[in-house]
């Protein structure tokens, strides 16, 4: 029997706003435990929430990027449940009226472009972080109140690859819009996957399993592929899929049981009475969207229009920091193709060799552009340029100064080159005969001799041109 997987994904994105969702406490990752806390974050009696405007702006940007309908009135609800990591005993969220609904994203899979519908996007606040030790647990309230958006897809995803691509797309959007750093390994983008199998062609849903703690894109794919296989085996052997929550075990590369689902918790939702509904004016919404930094899709369109191939552009856009560096350098007047070559070639291999990221790359866009320019102009040869580059990465010195310091001036003096070429030909008469006999290799040999004689400083294009002219005259 053929099965079809029905997969829906809930993604929680921590927003990198200055302060928390409803308190003035700083919102930062990695601080000492319980140092970024106000009375509200610990639910001291009498504290009241105050909505973070930037969080709303951020949410609007994502809503727009996901082609969603925007609710012009903000309502918040309380989701009530008791848990050790939930300071107030309720979470402020948007249950009835999410800020965005009915959107979609397009993903490119190995089977072509697919549109995944998105049911809703809502804002809410994060809980405390728990640290479970042998005989006790510790709570870190730094995370309590961190602004979140939750993005809920419709169950239109069919396999691990699509799921991975979907999460990657959402991640790209939140990163490029500067809403989040999207770090899955630090938990600033977390996804929960709901997955069930049904006979292909059926429109009845099977029993749903939830997979939690997927901390990388590849784990999303692996976990789903494993889980589809697991459920298929169960069903084919006549067993039942149990409704349960599982997590992905990275070492075993399989999903393992966390807990059986009992009756769903009744969250007793009701409207948050301490936040009056906020009306979002058209102006506010338009400003939030218009001021959104350029998204990856927009950059892709721009790069391809400027002459880059699609795959070339995607290679840059794969890393937000690379794209930022790319744009900054373009702004300084680099040619797009030359820049692409340089960044994906020399720069990339340098970074790789030294195990660095583009963020740690020392060379300023200004200096990179001037280096590219002196190479293009022929002031230095490409090998000379490379030498300068090797120096530049140390202290970001001006390539023009380095050129001087290293004595790397390309010789483009016509007379001197002519003399050098004539000498080389005189010293290698056999090469002239070879050339006449149709051995093109001889030309290269002669050019090499000139370059050697000039200690690499002669302009190779000019040398090549001159030798050819001289040979043809013989």
């Amino acid at each position: 029997m053929n099965f079809e997987a029905v997969i829906g994904i809930e993604i929680h994105v921590e927003m990198k706003t200055k302060s928390k969702m409803f308190s003035a406490s700083p919102n930062r990752f990695g601080a000492l435990p319980n140092t970024l806390v106000t009375p509200l974050d610990m639910a001291f009696p009498g504290t009241m929430p105050r909505l973070n405007k930037q969080a709303v702006i951020n949410a609007l940007r994502v809503v727009n990027a996901l082609h969603m309908e925007i609710d012009h009135d903000l309502y918040f609800d309380r989701k009530n449940y008791f848990y050790a990591d939930l300071p107030k005993g309720y979470q402020i969220t948007q249950d009835k009226r999410p800020i965005g609904k009915n959107g979609y994203v397009e993903i490119e899979t190995s089977h072509g472009v697919k549109r995944i519908s998105i049911e809703r996007l809502h804002m809410e606040e994060d809980t405390c972080k728990q640290l479970h030790l042998a005989s006790y647990s510790l709570l870190d309230y730094n995370r309590a109140g961190t602004p979140l958006v939750e993005i809920v897809s419709r169950p239109e995803i069919r396999n691990g690859e699509e799921a991975m691509k979907y999460v990657a797309k959402i991640r790209e959007i939140v990163i490029y819009s500067l809403v989040s750093d999207g770090k899955m390994e630090e938990g600033s983008l977390r996804c929960d996957v709901n997955i069930s199998l049904r006979p292909a062609g059926s429109d009845v849903f099977g029993t749903k399993v939830e997979i939690k703690n997927l901390n990388s894109l590849s784990n999303v794919q692996k976990a789903i592929d494993f889980e589809m296989h697991r459920q298929e085996k169960l069903l084919l052997s006549g067993q039942k899929v149990e409704q349960e929550t599982r997590r992905f075990d990275e070492t075993k590369k399989e999903t393992v049981l966390m807990r059986k689902k009992t009756d769903a918790v009744d969250y007793k939702y009701f409207t948050e009475p301490n936040l009056v509904p906020v009306h979002l004016s058209d102006e506010f919404i338009n400003d939030a969207i218009a001021s959104c930094p350029e998204l990856a899709d927009e950059k892709l369109a721009r790069y391809t229009k400027m002459g880059l191939g699609k795959d070339e552009a995607l290679q840059i856009l794969d890393s937000y920091d690379m794209a930022m560096y790319f744009d900054k350098t373009l702004d300084k007047g680099a040619s797009i193709k030359g820049l692409w070559n340089f960044l994906t070639g020399d720069v990339a291999s340098y970074l790789k060799k030294n195990n660095l990221t583009i963020k740690e790359f020392n060379v300023s866009p200004d200096h990179l552009v001037s280096l590219m320019k002196i190479i293009e102009k022929g002031d230095v040869s490409y090998p000379q340029g490379r030498k300068i580059f090797e120096e530049m990465v140390k202290n970001d010195e001006d390539p023009l100064m380095l050129q001087e310091k290293l004595g790397l001036k390309q010789n483009s003096n016509q007379d001197e080159i002519l003399t050098l070429c004539q000498t080389a030909m005189k010293n290698n008469p056999q090469s002239i005969i070879d050339y006449k006999n149709g051995k093109d290799r001889a030309l290269g040999f002669l050019v090499g001799q000139v370059m050697k004689a000039s200690k690499g400083k002669a302009n190779p294009q000019m040398v090549s041109k001159t030798i050819k002219e001289l040979l043809d005259k013989e």
Binding site: P39, F44, P45, L51, F82, Y83, A84, D266, V276
Partner: protein, 488 residues
């Protein structure tokens, strides 16, 4: 010489004339508080109050609250001062921040004398459910009658002549009802007019900060001090502040006042009806029109159940933070967080509170919301809409506060739903449903027990309401009441 049965304005004049000092007032208030036999206090701040009063030397002529002793209900967050909400679950809780109103009073250099008892977590109207036991009515040395609640200690402290001003909170009638039993002016302004930041929430959509005073003019001055937009309370009103004392004595010529017939008809105590009729006459003589108008009985009967459902639902959520992990006694629970929470909450809350939490939770369950919580919200909106229609024609609604002047502890009304006095004893919650300004003030005495009438107006018409109340006060001449004066 005793000063503290005077009102704020009188005390201010004495302070400015240097006939009395803040230290003398604070000393007297502390002495009286220590002798209090009505269980009005959770905490008496002898050291803090006297130390602060000592620093107040040069009178501030334009600052009415300079050196005035006051008390606050123990559900206002006070920095470094125990704040219990009269509940065992908070019996050792010392807040780290001041409520906005406390901060404003501190800045005005009013002297906080103590924190007063309340019905546990401000839930209840009897003054009997706090963790320190019953609070008594200072008018009744035999301790047979209630002072009412939930702001019982604040009402008792002002009526007992300990202070001229007390902060309270009002979710159903928790200021305005005890004001009646204590013969005081009890006022809760429009929702949002005074910041709730730092008030322990009971039911935020109904909660109001308010206060007890001895005169309407004092109430107007108090509102002047405490009103205003607060950054920390998103629901606080952004409308400009008014001077609520301006034109307060200009009379009510041409104003229109409504009496809701079904409510006045459900009051049967002769002494109340007599006093009420007399004041109606007075209002008419002062140039106002007073009409007795019809009002839908079903809506009035729905007030109490509506109030119970909404307030309990919100309460169960608001108090979910009191879980034994951050607050409340850690009684045990070595194994799971659930055990910690259950043990703390089981020991920390009284039976009445637990009952209300259960009612609230039950009405919020997904399957019940439609029939309970959402239905109550609908009823609330219907009631408010109908009341606001009254305000299309009338400047205020005037009614007695209570159905009975005195309410005995034994066999008196309780927290349970009952048809006795369902409407007459619960109509004040209308003011909370609609966030309407509402003021209670004495209109009569029954054998040395005072009782109040209540005026309620349209939202944000606090200033007009105070003007009408001021006129009514003039008609009754029942101003500056205290036990000492009335008994004499």
């Amino acid at each position: 010489m005793s000063y503290l049965d005077k009102n704020i304005v009188e005390l201010h004049n004495l302070l400015v004339e240097k006939k009395v000092t803040p230290l003398m007032l604070a000393t007297e208030a502390i002495e009286k508080a220590k002798k209090d036999s009505n269980n009005a206090f959770e905490t008496i701040l002898e050291k803090e109050a006297l130390e602060f009063a000592k620093t107040l030397v040069e009178p501030e002529k334009d600052n009415l609250f300079w050196g005035i002793p006051y008390v606050a209900k123990d559900n206002f967050s006070t920095k470094d001062i125990l704040t219990t909400a009269s509940s065992n679950i908070l019996k050792d809780y010392v807040p780290v921040f001041d409520a906005t109103v406390i901060k404003k009073l501190k800045e005005a250099k009013a002297v906080l004398i103590g924190k007063t008892t309340l019905d546990e977590l401000a839930m209840g109207g009897t003054g009997t459910t706090g963790h320190l036991g019953m609070t008594y009515n200072p008018y009744d040395p035999e301790h047979k009658y209630m002072v009412g609640g939930s702001s019982c200690g604040s009402a008792a402290a002002v009526a007992g002549g300990i202070v001229p001003f007390a902060l309270g909170s009002d979710t159903g009638d928790s200021i305005r009802k005890p004001a009646s039993y204590a013969g005081l002016v009890g006022y809760k302004p429009t929702w949002g007019k005074i910041s709730r930041y730092g008030l322990f929430p009971f039911a935020p959509s109904l909660d109001h900060v308010g206060f007890f005073t001895r005169s309407v003019l004092d109430a107007a001055y108090s509102l002047n001090l405490l009103q205003g937009k607060d950054y920390n309370d998103s629901t606080s009103s952004f409308l400009p502040n008014e001077d609520n004392t301006e034109n307060i004595n200009q009379g009510i010529e041409g104003m229109k006042i409504a009496v809701l017939k079904p409510i006045i008809n459900s009051v049967h105590e002769e002494v109340i009806l007599k006093a009420f009729d007399k004041t109606v006459e007075g209002l008419r003589e002062a140039g106002a029109t007073v009409d007795y108008i019809d009002f839908d009985d079903d809506l009035l009967n729905a007030i109490y159940p509506t109030y119970m459902v909404i307030s309990c639902a919100e309460a169960t959520s608001n108090n979910a933070n009191l879980d034994g992990i951050k607050f409340g006694p850690r009684i045990g629970g070595e194994n799971t967080y659930q055990e910690v929470m259950m043990k703390a909450r089981t020991a920390g809350f009284s039976e009445l509170i637990k009952r209300r939490f259960v009612i609230g939770s039950y009405s919020l369950f997904k399957d019940n919301q439609k029939y309970l919580f959402l239905r109550a919200q609908k009823a609330r909106h219907m009631i408010v809409r109908k009341i606001n229609e009254v305000f299309d024609t009338y400047d205020a609604i005037y009614l007695p506060c209570v159905a009975k002047v005195r309410n005995p502890f034994e066999g008196g009304y309780s927290d349970k739903l009952s048809s006795t006095y369902l409407v007459a004893e619960n109509h004040l919650a209308i003011g909370n449903f609609g966030g309407l300004p509402s003021i209670s003030l004495p209109i009569g005495l029954d054998n040395k027990f005072p009782f109040d009438g209540n005026l309620t107006a349209k939202a944000h018409e606090d200033k007009k309401l105070l003007r009408i109340a001021y006129a009514l006060e003039k008609i009754t001449s029942l101003k500056d009441l205290s036990v000492e004066k009335v008994v004499k």
